[in-house]
């Protein structure tokens, strides 16, 4: 029955990733499109899809302020392991977290396709290092399925769920829980086991 609710006419659209304006413009356009169709009840959500190795992941676009090319990352000695270092984003020092390490996956060298998702929450800015950004797409919340318990065994918090995309399944991450953005301001490695 979940399948029935998924949108058939308009599959997930894609957009070139150049800057936040484009993403927001795209999101606005889609939003406008939704409002033109009063029979469409379900509110679609815009997510950013990216890859770590062969697997696809998604984060809600509301948290992603920008997608950056990887610049110089300064080492932060003795920082918790997932913290790759700190980088300069227009005069602000932003910590970069290696999502691979955070999720307990094998570490990988930074390549030409590597990107930093600049996340913002309240007044904080955090960078999330990923292998490759694929696209921004709309998803229907009703299409989200529960994730298998052992999907990301080493991750600090389980994912929100999985969703079927044109390229296959994608894992939807709960960014706030993952980085404790809204929790007490603690380092990711200080969480309870």
């Amino acid at each position: 029955m979940k399948e029935r609710k998924r949108r058939g006419r308009r599959g997930p659209e894609t957009v070139e990733l150049e800057g936040p304006e484009r993403i927001y413009a795209f999101a606005d356009r889609l939003q406008a499109g939704i409002e033109e169709e009063p029979e469409e009840k379900e509110r679609l959500e815009t997510w950013v899809f990216f890859e770590l190795g062969e697997r696809s992941f998604g984060l809600p676009v509301t948290h992603v302020r920008e997608i950056l090319r990887v610049g110089r990352i300064a080492r932060v000695p003795r920082a918790p392991r997932p913290v790759k270092g700190a980088t300069n984003v227009r005069g602000k020092v932003v910590p970069v977290i290696d999502l691979r390490m955070l999720l307990g996956l094998a570490e990988l060298e930074i390549g030409p396709e590597s990107r930093i998702l600049l996340l913002s929450s309240r007044s904080r800015l955090l960078g999330l290092l990923v292998d490759r950004v694929r696209r921004v797409a709309l998803i229907a919340p009703s299409g989200v399925r529960e994730a298998a318990a052992d999907l990301l065994p080493a991750a600090p918090r389980g994912p929100l769920g999985t969703i079927e995309t044109e390229e296959g399944p994608a894992i939807l991450l709960d960014v706030e829980n993952l980085l404790l953005l809204n929790g007490p301001e603690r380092a990711p490695d200080e969480r309870e086991a």
Partner: protein
């Protein structure tokens, strides 16, 4: 947005109310021992302040606060000029402040006020996290003027560059005029540098408040604590105009509060003892602020009995601290267990303990030193950075990584003697200087290096030699905090961005003087 505007309005109201309360409090504290002629004027001003406070509270829709201000006004009216009993008024001011604190946090306790405000057509959002600053208009205008001057200076530079670019390379005209053009460009650059310095200075000044802003609080503290302890104590202040970074004011107030309370309770002797020692019956606590080589120094000096070391050691033993005899005076006074105990005994619920205050001071790159002479008095010296935004730092390089070391802690730099790196210490100024290889400490090297430099740092009397590969320039850096997601890495105080855009970590000199060498256990 509507909510932003309301939050801003609430912020302004709280800021102004706090200023008025402080003024009334200082007027009240001054009444004791004031001549009748001055008294009338002081009372009139207090009434005026409270009246305005009442009006503003009403305007914000805070009827509870309005009512409190009204009652305070009545209480000031009812004061007997012959023998003003100010205690009820001081208590009233405290209650007013407590209410304001609730409003600031938007806590449940403020629900009543918020409801009242909502009924009055306003719905103030929590002002938490929003900080406001009051700046004299004149200073803002000066900054605007400087910005305009900078634009003019840029035009000059552009003209000089344009004139040079218009001439063909290798042309005789260019050769003839090159000296002039260079001179014009250089002159313009120097002009811009001067304007930029003034601009930076002006903007930093916006962050500064005079130390005197804290004095009212301390005066009240001395009065209350002296009364409770049955002592007669006078607070003297010097250097009230000394600038203090706005973000350090709370911290300094907290630390000074502890030091001053400590001086009143433990420093100043009972009257009969003072009499026996030939001291005046009234003890003196002096708070003296000054700017010394890039940092603010605030001394708290009392003419009391000095610190009784044997008694302190005994207290430490009772508190279950092992090896108290061997500890330094500093370590004993600021021991978490001792200061906590004292806190619980004497003034429970008054903010953080002395040791926590010291931790906060360290986190901001400051230090507290202590010196005492038995029978004569004690001197605590609180040192804080002049600005939390800008610091003078020595750049050092270790295993290809650059770091910035706050210059205030650096005593000297030495070349590393061949083979000395592997040793845990080296002779220095007549004693052994413990060494720490930064590469080993930060995990970029497996073994201490054999060649390089030793940077001697000293904080609160503890010196340490930090081993690095290269010494870089000494220069000003802009301090930027690291997000808590990076943890609080031991030995790292923050970060900065260099002129070329690189991010560099700022070292925590205090943390490094105390850091254990890798492989050593506690």
């Amino acid at each position: 947005m509507r909510n932003d505007a309301l939050a801003e309005l609430l912020g302004d109201f709280l800021l102004e109310a706090e200023e008025r309360l402080a003024r009334v409090e200082s007027l009240m504290l001054g009444l004791e021992g004031m001549a009748a002629t001055e008294l009338e004027g002081a009372l009139a001003e207090a009434r005026r302040q409270l009246h305005t406070l009442k009006g503003n509270s009403g305007m914000m829709g805070f009827t509870g606060l309005q009512d409190r201000a009204h009652r305070l006004e009545d209480a000031v009216d009812a004061l007997d000029p012959e023998a003003p009993a100010i205690d009820p008024i001081l208590e009233g001011l405290d209650r007013f402040r407590a209410r304001m604190a609730e409003l600031r946090e938007g806590a449940g306790g403020a629900a009543e006020e918020t409801r009242e405000a909502a009924a009055a057509g306003a719905a103030p959002e929590s002002a938490a996290g929003e900080q406001s600053v009051r700046v004299p208009l004149q200073r803002l205008e000066r900054l605007a003027d400087l910005a305009a001057e900078l634009v003019v200076a840029r035009h000059h530079l552009e003209r000089a560059i344009g004139a040079g670019a218009a001439l063909a390379p290798d042309s005789p005209e260019l050769a003839a005029r090159s000296a002039d053009l260079w001179l014009a460009a250089e002159e313009s650059r120097r002009g811009q540098e001067k304007i930029l310095d003034a601009l930076q200075d002006g903007i930093l000044r916006l962050r500064m408040v005079p130390m005197g802003a804290l004095v009212g609080r301390l005066r009240r503290l001395v009065r209350d604590e002296a009364r409770a302890a049955g002592r007669r104590v006078r607070l003297e202040t010097r250097g009230e105009e000394t600038p203090l970074d706005r973000t350090l004011v709370e911290l300094a107030g907290e630390a000074l509060g502890h030091l001053v309370r400590n001086a009143v309770i433990h420093g100043i002797e009972p009257e009969e003892v003072r009499h026996r020692r030939g001291k005046p019956a009234t003890g003196t606590v002096l708070v003296q602020a000054s700017v010394r080589s890039g940092s603010v120094q605030i001394e708290v000096v009392d003419d009391g009995g000095g610190i009784d070391r044997p008694a302190l050691v005994e207290a430490a033993r009772r508190a279950g601290i092992d090896g108290a005899e061997g500890e330094s005076l500093h370590a004993l006074i600021f021991h978490p267990r001792l200061s906590t105990r004292e806190e619980a005994d004497l003034s429970a619920g008054r903010g953080v303990g002395l040791s926590a205050a010291l931790d906060a001071v360290h986190r901001h790159g400051g230090a507290i030193d202590v010196a005492t002479v038995e029978g004569t008095g004690t001197r605590f010296c609180l040192r804080l950075p002049l600005s939390v935004a800008i610091a003078l730092a020595l750049r050092v390089e270790v295993d290809g990584e650059e770091y910035a070391l706050p210059a205030g802690a650096v005593v000297e730099t030495l070349a590393l003697d061949a083979g000395a790196g592997a040793r845990s210490s080296r002779p220095w100024r007549g004693s052994e200087l413990p060494l720490l290889d930064l590469g080993v400490h930060f995990g970029t090297a497996a073994r201490p290096r054999e060649r390089g430099f030793v940077v001697v740092v000293e904080v609160e009397g503890v010196a340490r030699g930090l081993i690095v590969d290269r010494l870089g320039e000494l220069g000003e850096i802009v301090v930027k905090a690291l997000d808590p997601v990076a943890g609080r890495p031991a030995g790292i105080a923050g970060s900065t961005i260099l002129g070329d855009g690189r991010v560099v970590m700022i070292l925590d000199a205090h943390g490094l003087t105390l850091a254990e060498r890798v492989g050593e256990s506690a």
